[in-house]
Amino acid sequence: MRDERLKTLLKGGAIWGFILLELVFFEVAGRIWSLSGNAFVDLDNMLLLLKQAAPIGIIAVGMTVVMINGNIDLSVGATYALAGIVMLDSMSWPFMEALGAGAIPLAWGFALLTGALLGLINGLIVWKTGVDAFIVTLGAMLGFRGLVFMYNGEQPTYHLDWTMVDIAEAEILGLQTPALVFLAVVLGVWLLMTRTVHGRNAYAIGDNRDAAVNAGLRVGPHILINFVLIGVLAALSAVAFYSGSGSVNPNDGMLFELWAITAVVLGGTKLTGGRGSIIGTLGGVLAIQLLRMGLGHIGAQTETVNLVIGTILIAVLFLDRQLNRKGAEELKI
């Protein structure tokens, strides 16, 4: 039994081991190559890391839920941009301007509502038409992006409100707001997936949809809820990020879906559903962000960054596979 536990720990631990490796490597390599001569593993730097990981991280948490549920959402990048646009644009609506600083939470609310609505659209289509989520959200990736451009043409949407920026840059224990939001989301969704009936049903549906149907589970509403959840989380990510930047470019969020999915899969979630963990995803997100930050720290060039990130992704997968080997008794299929 203890042996079992150690094994599962080791299995889930591949990503954390890798994070440790990254820290050591960049610390050492940084001393040799870094121009600034600053330490890499330094509290401020790590807190910054958490903040920088937030936009993709929050989305990746939502993606984990949807993927555990046996679906996927490729439209999150566009949802993120549209929610950001609604949030910033709403700040300049006449009645909102009249509210002063009181408009800020309202603007956040509008953004989250937008995310929920877009998630609802995806979820309803997946549920009611039976079209595969991959296609539905691939289409939506394009369609939502079209809506983004419709809103304000090619122009960026911006509204710089220094109060909002200050809220976004506020710190508790050195953690800035986006990092806090990220951690809160991780905790909340982790509880949702491990402790609640909805979470466990999401696993069951992703694992074996026919079995879930046969057992009388209402599969559709669960799928719908999870799409709404990822919509809201994409919007929340936009809230956390754009409150601090004040401007949305209509191209923002492109490729977010791929990075989020990468983080999720690195974190051990099965692509076909049924298995996965929020904590693993946290690891995946941190590993990727560390890689980016570290490569910048040692001054790697664009082409090297691309090469290295690609290679590392494959290497982590390979390591993970080696760790999960059963040894001589394995069936060779």
Binding site: A204, N208, A215, L217
Partner: protein
């Protein structure tokens, strides 16, 4: 009994699939406190009828009554709400989840804020598992269980609610005798509580042991109902397939050739250790043992799917080492795997292509696969094995369970391998086809092929084997010849009660 109102009653049910009329106006009823067997050939419509009752299929015509109240079953949810529990023929489990979550799938006990009440869940599940006398607990991940134990998890579901009726669709197909006994106790309990039970099985001895009445379907039509106490195998068989079966064993002494395959001190980790046995040309060698005894693993090793950690394999006297099934097949060794759904079939592929899959390279005309050659192989085995399928184009997944199994058998028989290993070959196969398969295996042996049969059904091993190897806990305990074998001896050997390993 007839004074009771039926627990459930079906009237004039019609169900068609593209190309098949699966049910043609079937009527059927089950009384409370009765075990009612549903019998028929593979593809007769038993599972389909039950799926209509369970809300999984919508009938094209006909009515369903629960305690004489007409009901429409729009989905499994409604069926469950009406107190109809359904143990499916194919395992229907979420492998990544725990046993408890699977048993209570769809109705996890809740606390406030939608939280799962784990304590209650585990307590209730453990109570049920205790009744089933299984050796795993509620927290075990289902994927880690053997197929038999997974089947027990399915069965546990029937005990979660106070059902009015429980449907068991071939629950014993992958159970061994020990679990069967438990299952029959459970069924007896339910029956005593006044639950109406539908029991589908192809195994006559079970039918006579636990059922009260037997209803028979043939080609989707209702054929009649018999009192179990007042009938016999022959009558049932005749109603099912329209003729009697000759079940006598071909007693002629086998005409044995040289040793075809020999294992010497073969081991694979702790799965099985130090296995030494041989099978001759013209011989049928049976392997008997409890679930998990390691028979399947030996077969997989002989088929190149596992690397032995010790020992050697000799084919016609030459030592061979097999890297993969490709090599095994090239050397004339074939395996009919134990799990048709996972290992045997590509469910989305049609019947013909599944049968010819291992030899598709040899069925070519120029660079292309020859349609004619494939169809002739398919036709041959469809006729031999009485495979019931609308056409060769039908995806295998649309066939009845037994017919799927026949496709798997046909696939390997058509290869004419020198050494054929069959693992639980007749799982879910009706009596008629079963004896046909047994005959086929015997006939192969007579033609000089070597056959290894792994089975958890004692009558089957006894019936087809020339020699029987008994296994216990990864070790070969004893070898019996057909002449010396007795049921008691076998049972002792597979329970580890005989000290002398062969």
């Amino acid at each position: 009994m007839t004074q009771h109102t039926p627990a459930l009653r079906l009237e004039g049910i019609v169900k068609t699939f593209p190309g098949v009329r699966a049910l043609d106006g079937v009527s059927f009823s089950v009384l409370p406190g009765e075990v009612h067997a549903l019998m028929g050939e593979n593809g007769a419509g038993k599972s389909t009828l039950m799926k209509v009752l369970g809300g999984i299929y919508q009938p094209d015509a006909g009515r369903i009554f629960i305690e004489e109240r007409e009901t429409v079953m729009r989905g499994p949810l409604e069926a469950k709400a009406e107190g109809v529990m359904f143990i499916h023929q194919e395992l229907s489990l979420a492998e990544e989840l725990s046993v408890a979550e699977n048993v209570y799938l769809g109705e996890l006990p809740r606390k406030r804020f939608g939280r799962v009440d784990w304590a209650t869940l585990y307590a209730r599940t453990d109570a049920i598992l205790q009744k089933l006398k299984v050796r795993f607990d509620a927290r075990t991940r289902v994927g880690e269980l053997s197929i038999a134990n997974q089947q027990m998890v399915e069965i546990a579901r029937a005990l979660t609610v106070n059902a009015k009726a429980v449907i068991f669709d071939e629950p014993t197909a992958s159970l061994t005798d020990a679990e069967k006994v438990v299952l029959f106790d459970v069924i007896a309990d339910l029956r005593a509580q006044g639950v109406g039970i539908v029991y589908i099985s192809h195994r006559m001895e079970e039918i006579f042991r636990i059922t009260d009445r037997i209803s028979i379907l043939r080609d989707g039509a209702y054929r009649g109902t018999l009192e179990t106490a007042a009938t016999d195998e022959d009558e049932i068989t005749r109603m099912m397939i329209g003729r009697s079966l000759d079940l006598s064993r071909n007693a002629a002494a086998p005409d044995l050739g040289p040793v075809a395959l020999r294992a010497e001190g073969l081991s694979c980790g702790h799965l099985f250790e130090d296995a030494t046995f041989e099978v001759r040309e013209g011989e049928v060698l049976g392997f008997y043992g409890l679930v998990g005894a390691g028979r399947t693993e030996i077969a997989e090793t002989l088929f190149g799917l596992r690397t032995p950690t010790a020992g050697r394999i000799l084919l016609k006297g030459d030592e061979i080492s097999l890297g993969s099934p490709v090599e095994a097949i090239a050397r004339g060794i074939s395996l009919v795997p134990e799990s048709r759904k996972e290992q045997g079939l590509v469910l989305g592929m049609n019947c013909r292509d599944n049968i010819t899959l291992p030899q598709v390279d040899d069925l070519t005309a120029g660079p292309f696969v020859s349609d004619g050659a494939e169809i002739s192989i398919y036709d041959q085995y469809r006729d031999r094995l009485a495979i019931k399928s609308p056409s060769w184009r039908t995806p295998v997944g649309n066939l009845s369970g037994g017919n799927q199994q026949k496709i798997v058998i046909g696939k390997w028989l058509s290869m004419r391998p020198e050494v054929l290993i069959v693992d639980e070959p007749t799982r879910g196969i009706d009596v008629g086809s079963k004896s046909e398969i047994h005959n086929l295996l015997r006939e192969l042996a007579k033609q000089g092929y070597a056959v290894i049969v792994i089975s958890s059904e004692m009558p089957e091993v006894l019936h087809v084997s020339d020699r029987i190897v008994a296994m216990y806990h990864g070790r070969i305990m004893r070898e019996f010849t057909a002449a010396e074998v007795t049921e008691d001896g076998l049972i002792q050997a597979i329970s580890g009660l005989t000290g002398d390993a062969a």
